[in-house]
Amino acid sequence: MLKKQFSKKVFIYFLIISFAFFLDRISKIYILNLAESSGAVNIPLTSFLNFILVWNTGIGFGLFSFDGSTMYNLITILIVIVNLIIVYLMLTSNDIRGYLFSIILGGSLGNLFDRLYYSAVPDFIDFNYNNYHWFVFNVADIFISVGIMCLIFVELFFNKSNISNEK
């Protein structure tokens, strides 16, 4: 019975990871095809949203964007290790956190695939307001950010309930 429940849980995790990964891949393939056909991507969609293709060789928020391959490989190895930790946390979680970890893992695998295949991650969603541009990101980043934000909220909420139970 427990084994069946576990396999069902893993199947749902797999579906969530696949959904996040393939949605990210489709969006990136679409943008890269546009870039191949027109040379560059710079599409103003609305007054506050543009599609503009930039490549990131570092980590989040443009950190560690170096030319050296050693640093790049070290970061990639670190990301692989972090992904394995997330897989472990996902499989050992018995509440909503497991689903949130699977959302994060789906996005993270999308970015990891680009790091290995293109040696850089394509970013293309550019939000701006009054000429102030937020960091350019992609669909995988949305999944990762939303998953982590929700995890932080859940952590805060669960801890509060634990504290109230202790009282």
Partner: protein
């Protein structure tokens, strides 16, 4: 709880790949300053085993090349002499023509 939240923030930084538009378009300044470093080359020197190199043994080839050089020089001199004669003759006839015209006037 603090450790967990710190870990989640670490995940946010390490797994995300967003970057600022300016860095993405212009390329971030690199710490590596070696791109303009010019490698200094050593001055030219005679190789250490230069004197051990074998000398050319076939002197006939040198003689033939010297004789060809001499022939070519002679040929060039003869052509230039002829050219001078031609120009001199032309110059003299022109002078005579001009003097005749002046005298007629």
């Amino acid at each position: 709880m603090k450790n967990k939240i710190a870990f989640f923030v670490f995940l946010l930084f390490i797994l995300n790949s967003c970057q600022s538009l300016k860095d993405g378009l212009t390329g971030k300044k690199r710490d590596n300053s070696d791109e303009f470093l010019v490698e200094k080359k050593n001055p030219l020197e005679i190789p250490p085993d230069f004197e051990e190199l074998p000398e050319p043994k076939n002197k006939e080839i040198e003689d033939i090349s010297e004789s060809i050089d001499e022939n070519v020089e002679e040929l060039i001199d003869s052509i230039s002499d002829k050219g001078n004669e031609i120009t001199k003759s032309n110059d003299s006839s022109a002078e005579e023509f001009v003097l005749e015209q002046l005298n007629q006037n």
